[in-house]
């Protein structure tokens, strides 16, 4: 299985950087406050994460702050995955 941070980094670079844009994305690159992903585009990033990892990210947790770096996004996804795994089967 791909490393979570690596998948997010690759997706952000592919979708939100223009072809020829030579900026590199690391785990701490500011995405929202750095202007790479704006608050509207965040919706498509959220949708990608939900689909890829089978989670639902509540709107209250999908804040610009929580999405500002790959590292924070990975932490959010990890937390939500653990929560969904821990939830009792109905």
């Amino acid at each position: 299985m791909d490393d979570l941070e690596q998948v997010i980094r690759a997706y952000v670079a592919k979708e939100y950087l223009e072809e020829g844009d030579d900026r590199t994305i690391d785990d701490h690159t500011p995405l929202i406050s750095g202007g790479i992903v704006d608050s509207f585009s965040m919706v498509s990033l959220k949708r990608f994460l939900e689909r890829r990892y089978g989670i639902e990210i509540p709107d209250a947790e999908a804040t610009p702050d929580a999405f500002d770096t790959v590292s924070r996004i990975a932490a959010l996804v990890t937390r939500l995955r653990a929560r969904s795994t821990a939830a009792p089967a109905s």
Binding site: E15, E18, E19, G20, D21, R23, P30, L31, I32, S33, G34, G35, I36, V37, D38, S39, F40, S41, V43, S44, R47, F48, R51, T63, P64, D65, D68
Partner: protein, 574 residues
Amino acid sequence: MPSTAPSPVSPVADWTEHARDFDWSIAERELDHRPGEPLNIGWHCTDRICHRGHARRPALVWEDHQGHGRTYTFEGLRLRSNAIAQFLRSLGLGPGERICLYLDRVPELYIGFLGILKMGGIAQPLFSAFGDEALWTRLADAQTAAILTQRKHLPKVRKARDRLPALRHVLVVDAGDAVLREGERPLALESLRSPEGFEVHHTEPETPSVLHYTSGTTGNPKGALHVHGALLAQYLTAKWVLDLRPDDVYWCNADPGWVTGTSYGIIGPWANGVTQVVLDAGFSAARWYDFIQRHHVTVWYSAPTAIRLLMREGMDLVRRYDLSSLRHLCSVGEPLNAEAVHWSRQAFGLPFHDTYWQTETGSIVITNLPGMPIKPGSMGRPFPGIRAVVLDPATAQPIEEPGRVGLIALGPGWPSLMRTYWNNAAAYGAKFRNGWYVCGDRASVDPDGYFWFVGRDDDVINTGGHLVGPFEIESALLEHPAVAESAAVAKPDPINLEVVKAFVALKPGYAPGPDLELEIMNTIRRRLSPLAMPQEIAFVDVLPKTRSGKILRRVLRAREFGEPVGDLSTLMEE
């Protein structure tokens, strides 16, 4: 920068008297402009301020997301805008030619804007998040001759350029060691020579100055053409509504790719000789509060979407910063909800004052002046000198009855009303009814003369304070191989007021699903802009249509808002 102690706003003593005695010549006198003399916005924002003894006052204090900063005094602004103007002239660019600014909020955007006006060009600012298709549409319509851009946006310019024969020059402000192609050249602001004895082009109040594109219900975006004389309205509204004074530190959140960012992010403050701070960074509540604290911002012009995002981050965060320098707050872009006004009183000890205007009006037309009692949720009252009414949609006569909803309309004659839509006189003419300029919004007026916004009168989507046209989105959707037909409508949103929702019928052989939805969303984002990207896509078998085959967006929109769908007698049976 020295700390600025908070001070009260300048209250308007008597609204009625102010309105009765008002004449736009007040602005002419204050700007030392006499009828028949040349008038140039670029000169008034720089040279005139220097002549008045403020050459060393900071004009632009700029900072990026990494904390890098640059500061320009009014003398610096004067010399560097002259240098850009001279450089553009040296390329053979002449008066009246459209020169596009396709830049993030870097100093070259602000100074380039003034330089273009000084050499007599028409500045055409475009939001740098526009994709290549949105860029092409606007440059092709304007027959733009040159574009100032950055390396990061160069790929989008290159994609569009093959189809833009009028585009002679691509000027890259941060070219560095980039390999440029034919027709591309660097424009290094800090290396340009400031010419001695530079002569500002002779422009008059009716000389075209700025071309801002805005979206409508039908057809492609339209270019609202403004003139140098708009300065009179932008200067005076900045002074009276934003309450700008020479010792202020002013922050306007708007990007100059949109009209607020030029009228009140460049022209208004600098014509008043006011220092403005610019943060070239995406949204971060902590970063914004820190910025206000460090720069001792006194006057802040923001937008409801941003205010609602700040509200979501909570009051605890606000309390961690010293924001006591703030003394006056204004908002624009969409209706300011009452809750936001109450929250700002709690958070900053000050209410946000709503202001209403649009790309075509060029300056604030309905507002809450400082000192005027605010009715939270209301847009305020007409600015002195502005005749504003609501019209009966059937008769185009002003409605006298308080509380009855009609179309917001303005009596022409204020200096900053657009002069036409570029290449589209018919669309311009259609904006007028019975001698009134009709804004396209619905409102009512209460017995005290306060306007209350109700909604748009057309299918245009107001998202995050920006108008997005459904036609442009639907056209882009149809270019996706899976899409047979589509409709784009507004959907209510707690943060952005509205967002785009698309209804899509697929071609045979394609199946709906989350992968396809995400792919279509990203396609629209890249081609048009993040604002135009549908935040939700509903896959449907058929779309509601009239018997003549026209898609009934109003039915889809009404369903989203939980409103009655209205007359369905023309609906084609599905």
